[in-house]
Symmetry: C2
Subunit: 316 residues, 2 copies
DNA sequence: ATGAAAGCGCTAACAC
DNA sequence: GTGTTAGCGCTTTCAT
């Protein structure tokens, strides 16, 4: 018992005794068993995090920020990648519960969040990241606004023949909202993106941007502007356009989304929408920690961050 | 007891009984407690991973590959970021042990690996990633060879006035080995990098590349070629050179290292050294799994992967 | 095919 | 400031 107290830095143990315990522990190369503690307390000093993709510059800063913040409190981070598969997401959340993590941060695949509500109801704090959540804490960005910023910029520059490249992913609201805000703003100026310039690709890698251009160039005419819903794809779009002898921005302007660090170093530096990804992680972690500190019954925190247009050479 | 068996799909339980158990479990919204199991078995279905930086395109594919492979076996991944701080690295490894992880994969900060030897001796499998390890399993790349490839290419192109930009990090062997192989090959051609062209910066971000150029341009003369030990920095180097009106590759050629996906989309597409980062993670995970499958006492696996020169516009 | 008993290493609650 | 007791939920072992 005294040993247990010594290890937890309880002040109910004399300094001398504590020292003796610690010395003995070293001699015996004793390693505390956090599982046993977790069993008793029905909770461990861990945070489970599920994102759509680990190897994605959109999510990396979030995971990194979370890790950095919670590790300062001695919490470990368990990561999971759902790969946009709702089943996998559920599985991770369930597995986290089986391990009795202290809290969970999820960037959900779809807007069906009932499994998260259940977890929350069972007492484990849950924060939804990069998407809104009616029934609990979330930290998201205003994606419709981001889409609007893009459209407004294009309209200001006088573009009317506008194309769109986006990941085919009906359930992923953020992209849907970007497109929604974009379309709505264009519609107000009586502009519509024709179907042949509305390209959907199956992923958001650089290569998918390349693929998108190939399909876009099959159209009878060429747009004067292209909105690409992620910078990674936009990099591929610009590269492929240049390879085809189409100049950016002289012949076609391109606007991306996310403002990844590489956007400024691109073949043609990208005009894009910056979202505070690091903040998303930071604030999510902060909310989770406050829940762990006992704010369990407080009202849900609803945080909506604003994106910003960053103007560079690809659409000056 | 029967319930326990039912959950582990033991075939010592009748199908009918199993079904009844599972139904009852759902009704009671029972969640198995993996901590209790871990307490009994003194080991959990988890893998601890420590890397120098999570938000680094060098490590991301490794973590992602590890996650993808071990998750197929139902193992969770606990991630830690040492930030090149040996103390933090040790702390993570210790914490992993306290949680009785099944195995550990570390990309170590320094070449002092005694703490890992101790862990291994205590029975937890350890794989060292991206660095060689005399006393245990490792998966690394031949960094000296990478440096040699760069030097050979520059020599072939007739460069003799050569600069070097690298992260200041004496303990990080990979960078040291790149520089070593590079220098040795140049020395064989009786070329030396003068001190004023040997720039050390405190980090490996894009911004540190920018900083490096500023310091390089203070030198009395300008080199005709620059080797930058990571692509992220090289992106900053190229950007800054162009901003200064110095053309790449006409005035100065630049060679990077890592071949991150963005290298091909850079302002000037980067000539660089490709390292199979995904394989590093994949093979590390494979070795760890084989250890968990009982190959505990087998000889250490020593895997050394070869880098490849990728020639693009920044040094054709 | 099922169950009973014991114990994994810890902490909460309660003595002293 | 220190020790005792009990029990967290599971698996191992042994019995039936």
């Amino acid at each position: 018992m005294t040993a247990s107290r010594a290890f937890r830095h309880s002040n109910l143990v004399a300094q001398a005794t504590r020292d003796r315990v610690l010395v003995a522990a070293t001699e015996l190369s004793y390693v505390p068993n956090l599982l046993a503690r977790g069993l008793v307390q029905n909770c461990t000093a861990t945070v489970g995090v599920v994102v759509l993709e680990l190897a994605n510059p959109f999510f990396i800063p979030m995971v990194s920020a979370i890790e950095s913040i919670v590790s300062k409190r001695g919490l470990l981070v368990i990561t999971g990648e759902s790969g946009r598969d709702e089943g996998k997401e559920r599985q991770y959340v369930e597995q986290f519960q089986q391990f009795r993590v202290g809290g969970i941060i999820v960037s959900p695949t779809s807007s069906r969040l009932d499994h998260l509500a259940a977890v929350r109801a069972s007492g484990t704090p849950v924060v939804v990241m990069a998407r809104q959540w009616e029934h609990g804490d979330y930290v998201a960005t205003d994606d419709a606004m981001g889409g609007r910023l893009v459209a407004e910029h294009l309209l200001r520059r006088g573009h009317r023949r506008i194309g769109l490249v986006r990941r085919e992913d009906p359930s992923h609201d953020p992209v849907r909202d970007r497109v929604l805000g974009f379309r709505r703003t264009l519609a107000a100026a009586e502009i519509k993106v024709p179907d042949e310039w509305d390209i959907r690709v199956p992923g958001s890698q650089i290569a998918h941007g390349v693929e998108a251009v190939e399909r876009l160039l099959l159209a009878s005419e060429r747009p004067s502007a292209i909105f690409v819903t992620s910078d990674r794809m936009a990099l591929g779009v610009v590269n492929r356009l240049l390879e085809q002898g189409i100049r950016v921005p002289e012949d076609v302007v391109v606007i991306g989304y996310d403002d990844i660090p590489y956007a400024a170093c691109a073949r043609v530096p990208l005009t894009t929408v910056a979202i505070p990804v690091h903040l998303l992680g930071e604030i999510s972690a902060g909310i989770l920690l406050s829940r762990l500190d006992g704010a369990a019954r407080a009202e849900p925190s609803r945080v909506l961050l604003s994106p910003e247009l960053v103007i560079r050479a690809s659409c000056p």
